[in-house]
């Protein structure tokens, strides 16, 4: 405990210089913008700015890159709420209830709760990181393929709760998500699957292009049809800040999202995207009136937006205390450190306390910057809703195209975006829920790989999934939840469809 406090003091000593504070602020600002712009995610921004950090001190460079990463989680909710277009992949679920709130004139409270939830979750994440980073990292690394598999199964079971409307349609969409995810290289033998000899398909379908298509382009298509002359507002703007009732509904969701996000950020293969989806599913599962979800429930914004922020803190722990990146963005942060000639590993905290604690301290500061930066913006963003849609949609479409292309510089991704845009439009008309499709798409590769890894490394087949205690526990929880869900569905729908 004292050690952590001493470390933190060292850290604040390192970063409370004008230059480092400036870099932290700059990173927060860039991160917010990157989050707001649809398509341009933290990965693309970090890659672009990596060369800039060559000329900075190691601590300055890391402070800036890290603040872009968590800053993007703040900004990501903005377009989800205002336009129903996710600013980056971790804000996909925020669209569902956030945008409904905006249509009802409650964009202000939605944006406000997203910013405050992000702040609380981000800060809680750093606090846990401050005191427990080495211990947590040591536990997280024992998390092997069987544990990962069980976690993904639990995630999928939670997704069942996300289905709104027809169960059969929802399950169908999940199956389609699995199939789409199967395109590309087989994770075990490296052979191509469903690529039809196409080089472009051999790497699989790009998540970003798919999400921007399904949510961004499809949204524009259906809006253009109905409101060429009007604005997005169905109602007049009601209130800029979350009301007392909003707070009462959200605070538990924020805390739950913070905890869940932190854990999912920690484990290999997890990260902000999975965290946000699972938090939404969890909120819907435990809500007193699950049918409010999808119609502007503020918990559906507060939970996921908190989860993706604390996931950032969680995902930084394995990188900084062990040198193990769990997702592409943290891999890039590791690359930035290596370019600076620093090799993070188990000895990183002991060898470079200035760097480790400096980064931790900067996250406290950065979260404050981001809150101060984002709250005043709420008033401004809400005004965007007054812009006639015919003026707005070409700009938004352009942003979708630029964002999708900039990620991989691959023109094929634009075709993927367009194709999923049209598919999303049609599916919505037919009242198919898109969220189960996307989450199945995200989880399927992890699920498949961890299952096949588990079976290869097991000496007695599937028994490995039961013998390992964490795996067994998670799988048992999945079974119980599935049972509960079908009982509830049967009750409310009067029999399975």
């Amino acid at each position: 405990m004292m050690e952590a406090l001493n470390g933190l003091l060292t850290g604040f000593g390192v970063i409370l210089t004008p230059a480092n504070l400036y870099l932290c602020f700059l990173g927060s600002l860039i991160g917010t913008l990157v989050g707001v712009l649809p398509g341009v995610g933290p990965l693309a921004a970090l890659a672009l700015l990596l060369p800039v950090t060559f000329t900075l001190s190691p601590i300055g460079g890391m402070v800036m890159l890290a603040s872009i990463f968590y800053g993007a989680m703040y900004g990501g909710s903005t377009t989800s709420i205002l336009l129903n277009i996710p600013g980056e992949a971790a804000s996909v679920v925020t669209c569902i209830d956030g945008h409904q709130m905006a249509r009802q004139g409650r964009a202000g409270p939605a944006l406000g709760i997203a910013a405050i939830g992000s702040f609380i979750a981000g800060t809680l994440g750093v606090v846990i990181m401050t005191f427990f980073a080495p211990a947590i990292a040591a536990a997280a690394i024992r998390f092997g393929p069987p544990e990962n598999f069980a976690l993904m199964v639990l995630g999928l079971v939670c997704t069942l709760f996300m289905i709104s409307g027809s169960t059969i349609k929802g399950v169908l969409m999940m199956a389609l998500g699995f199939l789409t995810a199967a395109v590309g290289l087989d994770v075990v033998n490296g052979r191509e699957r469903y690529t039809f000899g196409s080089v472009d398909l051999s790497g699989g379908i790009e998540l970003l292009a798919l999400v921007i298509g399904l949510f961004g382009v499809a949204e524009i298509l259906s809006n253009v049809e109905t409101m060429a002359k009007t604005t997005l507002l169905a109602d007049r703007i009601r209130g800029l800040w979350p009301s007392l009732a909003d707070w009462r509904a959200s605070w538990r969701a924020i805390l739950r999202g913070s905890g869940l996000g932190f854990v999912l950020g920690l484990v290999p293969g997890g990260g902000p995207v999975t965290a946000a989806f699972m938090s939404y599913a969890l909120e819907k599962r435990i809500a007193a009136q699950p049918d409010r979800f999808g119609k502007g429930a503020i918990e559906g914004v507060a939970g996921p937006e908190s989860a993706n922020n604390s996931a950032v803190a969680g995902s930084l722990i394995p990188v900084l205390s062990l040198g193990i990146p769990g997702n592409p963005v943290t891999a890039l942060l590791l690359g930035a450190l290596i370019i600076q000639g620093i090799q993070p590993g188990p000895l990183f905290i002991a060898q470079r306390p200035d760097l480790f604690w400096g980064i931790v301290a900067s996250m406290y500061v950065g979260n404050v910057f981001l809150l101060l930066l984002n709250l005043p913006l709420v008033g401004l963003w809400v005004q965007f809703l007054r812009i006639p849609y015919r003026v707005m949609f070409p700009v938004v479409l352009l942003l979708c195209v630029v964002g999708t292309y900039s990620a991989n510089k691959n023109v094929f991704d634009l075709w993927v975006m367009l194709a999923f845009g049209v598919a999303g439009y049609v599916l919505r008309k037919l009242e198919y829920d898109l969220a189960p499709f996307v989450i199945a798409f995200v989880l399927a590769p992890l699920l498949e790989q961890s299952l096949r890894q588990s079976l290869v490394m097991s000496s007695d087949g599937a028994m490995i999934l039961i013998k390992r205690p964490v795996t067994g526990l998670l799988l048992a929880a999945s079974v119980v939840l599935t049972f509960l869900m079908f009982r509830r569905r049967t009750k409310t729908e009067g029999g399975l469809p």
């Binding site: 024992r142 290289l185 080089v199 472009d200 051999s202 290999p268 590993g345 991704d413 290869v456 490394m457």
Partner: protein
Amino acid sequence: MPWSLLSAPAGAQSDPKADLAKLKPKDFPTQPIEFTVVYPAGGGMDVSARLLAKHVENLTGDRILVNNRTGGAGMVGHSYLATQAKPDGYTVGVVASLLWGDAMLRAQGRWSFTDLEPIAYVNSDALIWVGSTEGPYKGMSIKDVVNAAKDKPNTIRVAIVPGSMWEYILDQIEANSGAKFLRVPFQGGGAGITALIGGNVDIAQGFYSEFRGHLEGGKVAPLAVAAAGRMDFLKGMPTFNEAFGSNEYLWQLVRYAVVPKDTPADRKAYLAAAVQTAMKDPELIAEYRKQGVFFDPKLENSKNLAADLNAYAEVERQFYIKTGRLK
């Protein structure tokens, strides 16, 4: 064109900047030069390319953009370089020898790695086997491990990356020794190292940079390297060839710079000289060494880089033919 004509003059006494200025075409470059990297930002290939770009930029004053054209495990970017990139000198690929496998096994005759002309050697990484410092196999040599896998087949878990040298080296070892390993697939070398430390596999394979931190932390022990000679940074680690009295265990990543075929000779000569001069900068060499790569003496002092690289590629082709991967 013979390679030696393109090299910077051997006498290092002359001012490299002045020599470079003599080679600079009048009309080139008038816009930024793209260094194409076919793997994602932050990985070993990307870091190598960005360090190189920084030094070439400082040396020449030309603007250089590093562009990650990713997808299909490098296939999308390789196809782009070989078939779509304009041969006007504004595209320089910073590629790895994984290009050869892509060309031979996956390009289906649409392009060949000879469509890209090497202009400079950058650096190399050799595949290294590492074991854990805990558990039943601790303290074992590479021979002990292989013998253990022979005595009790299908018990030792090795992390592999499917469809690449991580798997091919296992094919060789199993064919030569009769041992059998369990192959646990991962998406990259780093993920396998993580699994090793977490106790989920027994052997991992990777590059020095991927496990150096854990080596310093006393978590992993290096077993053997698949290179022609021992590594400077791990003198005590034998090569596979030493351990097994063979010469076929050569699995390394060679990083080098290419331009698309038909790039104008003067621009190609200028780019080659620029990259080669940058590669002589002790500061860049020191940065690469910090990163944990090594320099293959054969390629470093090559008189004909294209021919020497082709010789390496040919060895790989023979392996594919022998194992039935290529007809």
